[in-house]
Point group: C2
Chain length 580, copies 2
Amino acid sequence: MDNILRINMSAKGGPEITIKPADTYAGLGGRAMTSTVIADEVPATCHPLSEDNKLVIAPGMLSGSPAAMSGRISVGCKSPLTGGIKEANSGGQPSQVLARLGYAAIVLEGKPADDSLYKIFINKDGVKISVDNSLRMLGNYDLIDKMKAEYGDNIACISIGPAGEMKMAAASIAFTDMELRPTRHAGRGGVGAVMGSKGVKVIVLDDTGMSMRQPQNPEKFKAANKVFVEGLRKHPVTGQGLPAYGTNILTNVLNEAGGYPTMNFRYGQFAGAAKISGETQAALENSRGGEGAATHGCHRGCVIRCSGTFYDKNGRFLTKQPEYETVWAHGGNCGIDDLDAIAQMDRMDDDFGLDTIEMGATIAVAMEGGIARFGDAAAAISLLQEVGKGTYLGRILGNGAGVTGKVFGVERVPVVKNQSMPAYDPRAVQGIGVTYATTPMGADHTAGYAVTANVLGVGGNVNALKPEGQVELSRNLQIATAAIDASGMCLFVAFAILDQPDTFQALVDIIGAFTGQETTADDIIALGKSILTRERDFNARAGFSSKDDRLPDYFKKEVLTPHQVTFGVSDNELDQVFNW
Amino acid sequence: MDNILRINMSAKGGPEITIKPADTYAGLGGRAMTSTVIADEVPATCHPLSEDNKLVIAPGMLSGSPAAMSGRISVGCKSPLTGGIKEANSGGQPSQVLARLGYAAIVLEGKPADDSLYKIFINKDGVKISVDNSLRMLGNYDLIDKMKAEYGDNIACISIGPAGEMKMAAASIAFTDMELRPTRHAGRGGVGAVMGSKGVKVIVLDDTGMSMRQPQNPEKFKAANKVFVEGLRKHPVTGQGLPAYGTNILTNVLNEAGGYPTMNFRYGQFAGAAKISGETQAALENSRGGEGAATHGCHRGCVIRCSGTFYDKNGRFLTKQPEYETVWAHGGNCGIDDLDAIAQMDRMDDDFGLDTIEMGATIAVAMEGGIARFGDAAAAISLLQEVGKGTYLGRILGNGAGVTGKVFGVERVPVVKNQSMPAYDPRAVQGIGVTYATTPMGADHTAGYAVTANVLGVGGNVNALKPEGQVELSRNLQIATAAIDASGMCLFVAFAILDQPDTFQALVDIIGAFTGQETTADDIIALGKSILTRERDFNARAGFSSKDDRLPDYFKKEVLTPHQVTFGVSDNELDQVFNW
C-alpha cells in the first residue's frame, strides 16, 4: 500500500495513468487519506461536478492485513449534495483487495472531454483504462455480471449505477461483497455522481498473485488481534445482538425509546414497527432459509457478521439483509410496514446506485408534498422506479430530500447541510442531534453515534431527552469515529471498545504492531482531531459557517410524541463541539 | 401613509386584521420599510415558506404624492430562492393607490391552517379578507378580469398566478398597470411563493374618496419637482433613448460591448441581436400601431415613459413592451431571435406569475442540460407551459436555475446566492459583476447598476474589462440605489442624477420638502448605508458569509469572447465593498 494511483480524465489523447509513491500522504488510510487529499488538492469553492473536484478511494490503514474487521474503504470528494467535504464509507471486498494490490488510494481527477464511459482494470500487472459504452445505464447487478463474464470470479468491483451516470446527488458507489454482489455502498453525499462526472462506470480489482499485508511486529500484532476478537465476541452487541438480528435489532429499541422517526419525522413511534423489526426480519429470513440467511459477513475477516441474506417468497435471492437505517427509511419513515416491499426497494437502490437513507427520506418528503400517500408501498416502489429511469420526477427525487422539498414547496425537510437525517429523531436522541448538526458531513449518524450512551447504555449513560452532556458525548464520538474511519475498522468495533478498556487497548496495539511505531490512545485521539480539523477547514473555505451547524428550525419548535420533547441543545453549545 | 396593516393568517377562527400607526417604522418607505421589518421581525433561520416568515408590501416614501416618478413599490421577505433577505420592486399603480389609502405597509404574517385561498379588499372604509377558492390556479389575466367584474374599474391589484400558489422559487407578485393589466412584477427572489404560502391570491385596492398625499412644504416641493422633471427630460437616456426605444435599447449596446450573455453565458455576442434589438422592437410595435405602442408609462406620474405595448400580428394586445432583460433572458440567452416568441413568453410569465429573468436563465440552463436545443423558440415556449401547468418538469424549472442545474447535473449555472444573473456578462462588465457578487439580494443588476459607468458613459467612465475601480463604483451605486428604492422613485432617475448635479439636488429637495425635514445628500447616503447594513446583518444571521459574495468559479476561469476576458476582481477586493 505504498503507491497512489492517479488517473487524469482530462488528459489530451485520453485518460493518463500515474502511479507514484504516497510520499507526503504515506501512512494515511481511509478517511485520513481521503480528507487530506481533498482538503489539500481540491479548490473548496469548485463545482462538485467540475474537473477541479477529485474522487479519492482509499482502503483503511489496516486494510489488506490479517487484522479482523479491517475491510472498510473510504470515498472522498467535494459533495454534490452538501457542497462540503465528504467521506462515505463502505464494507465489501474491494478495500482488502485494493490494499493488497499495493494502492493507498485511487484518485480520479479531471473530466473527460466527451461523454465516453470508462472501465478501469487493476491487477498485479498494472492498470488499464478503456472506453466501454456498452455499460451505459446498466444497473449494478447487470454490470457486475458483465464484469464477471469478462474478468472471471476472482475480482472485486467498485461501480456506479444509472443514478451516478445521471449525476444525481443521492447516487452511491457500490462495492461488491464476498458473493460478488453490489450490495455494499459508499452511500452518502452523492459520491456516485462525482464518479459519474469523471466518466468512470466501474473499477475492477483482481489481487491474484498478491499477498496479505504483513505487520511490522507480527507477534505483538497476532496477540493484540486475538484479544481484540475475543473482546468483540464477548460484548453483548457485537457478540450476540448484531449476529442474531443484524442492525435492524434497533427498530424495536428506537421505537420503544420514542425516537423512531415516523412519517417524515412527524412522530416518534410507529404502529407498524413490530412488523418490520429485526426480530421479525430474522425469523422471516430463517423461515425462508438459504445460504447466509440471518447471519453473514460483508467482507472476509469480519467476526461480527451483522448481515444476512434476504430471499424472496419464492426462495430467490433478492438482496442482502436490509440494514436498520434502510428498513427505517423505506419503512417507518414512509409509514410502510411491509418487509418484502422494503427489501425490494433496498435491491432497487443497490441496483440503481442510490443511498437508501437519502431515498427513503426523500420519498417521505415527497409524500408530505402530496406526491403519494404515507403507507403506500406500491407508490413508494414506483417513485423509486422513476428515479432509476431518470424521468423528470425521478430526477427530482434522485437529487435528495432538499431539492425535493424545494421543488414541491415542502417546509418540513429533515436535512442538515442538505443531507437527510437518518433513523434517529434528534429530539428524542439529542446526542445524535448534536452529531447531525455539527459533523462536517451533513446529517450522519455514523459520524458520532451518540445512540450508544443515549439509548443503548453503551459507553455510559446520557439522558437522551435532555441537552446536558450531549455536546461532550458527540465530540468524543466524532473524534474516535474519525480515527476508526481512518483505520479501516468497521465502526461496530466501537461498541466493544467503548465498554471494554482491554479491547480498546488491543485496537491501539494492533495499529502500533502493524506500523511498527509506538502508538498510544492519545495518538488515536490526535489522529481523529486532525481529520476533523482538516474537514472543517475545507468546509469553512467552501463557505460554511456556524449557521450551517444547526438543525432545521422546526426541530426546536415542533413537539415530538410520545415524549413531548423538542431539540434543546442551544446554538452556543453546538458551537462548542470542536472546542477541544 | 401613517398606518401599518397587518393580517395574521394563523389566527384561530380565521385571518386577523390589525391596523396600527407605523410607530417605530414611521417615515420609512419602500425598501427601507421592507428590509427593516424583515430584519427586525423575521427569525433569520426560519424556512421561507413557514409561518415565521412575513411578506411586507410597502409603497415608497414619496408614493401617492405629486412627485414625478414616485410610483415604485417594494416587496420584502426572507427569499425562498436565496435564503436571504429580499426586496423586489415593481412599478404599476398599486404603490400610489396604497399610499393614498394611508398604508405605509401591508404585512402578511403566519400561515393558514388549511389550504383555503384568500382575497383581500382595501378601500377607504377599511379592510376585508375572505375565502375565495374560485380563484385557485387562475392566471393573473383571468384573475384581474374577475376582480374587475367584482369590484369595478377603479382598482389596482397585487396578485399571484399559479406559480405563486405552487410556491415556486421563481414566482413573482404582479402589480397592475394604468390599463389594469398585470404587467408589472416584483419579480425576483420568489416573493410570489411567500404570498402563496400565506394563502393570499390577490389584494384589491380602491382609493376612491382618498386624496393625494401632500408635501409639508408645497412651494419648495413644487419648485424642486419642476427642476427634477426638466432634468429627466433633458438627459439623453431618460429624455430620448428610453422613451423612444425602451430599455431594450440596450441589446445593441451590450452586444457591441461584447457583454451580452449568449446561450447560457457561453459567448459575449449574439448573432441574432439585431433581430431583437430595441430599434427593431420599436419599429415593429409602431408598424403594428395601437394605443401606447412604442412609448408608454407604467404608472401615473411617470415622465420617462420607457414602456410600450406589444400587439400581436393580428393587432391584438399581447403584453406590455418586453424589457431588455426579458428580451435577453428569453432571447439571446437561449439563442432565440424571434421577438413574437419572446413577447409570448413575456405574456406567459406575467400570466403564470414568474420572474422573466429567472425563467430565461433557467431555460438556458435546461438547454445546456440537454432538455431542449438552444435557439428552439417553440421548445422554450413549451417548457414555460410546463411551468404554468405544474408538471414535474415545470416544477423543476419553476424553482429556478439553481435547482434546475442540480436536477440535471449542469455545472455552468450562472447564479449568485442561488439567484440568476441578469443580462450583463460579469466578465465583460466587471462592475456589474461586483454588484452580482456582493449585493445582499443575490445576482441583481438593479442593486447597483454599474453598466452606467462601465458601458453607457453615465456618471463617469470605468473600463468595463478591468477590475480597477469596480468596487468603488458598485459600492456607491449600491448605496444610492438602496436609498432610491426607499423613496419610491423609479431607478431610472439615476441616469439624470448621476450626470446632473442639479437634478440630484432637486431629488434631495423633493424629499426634504415632502417630509418638512432638512435633508441633505449626506442624509440620502446615510439612509442607503443603513438599509444595506441591516440587510447584510440579516443575511449573516441566516448563515451567509463572505464566501457567498462570490461569482461561480467558472467566471474566473472560462474566457469570454470576443474580449477574451475573465472576471478579474479579487476576493479581497469584493470583501471591501461594504467597508465604507
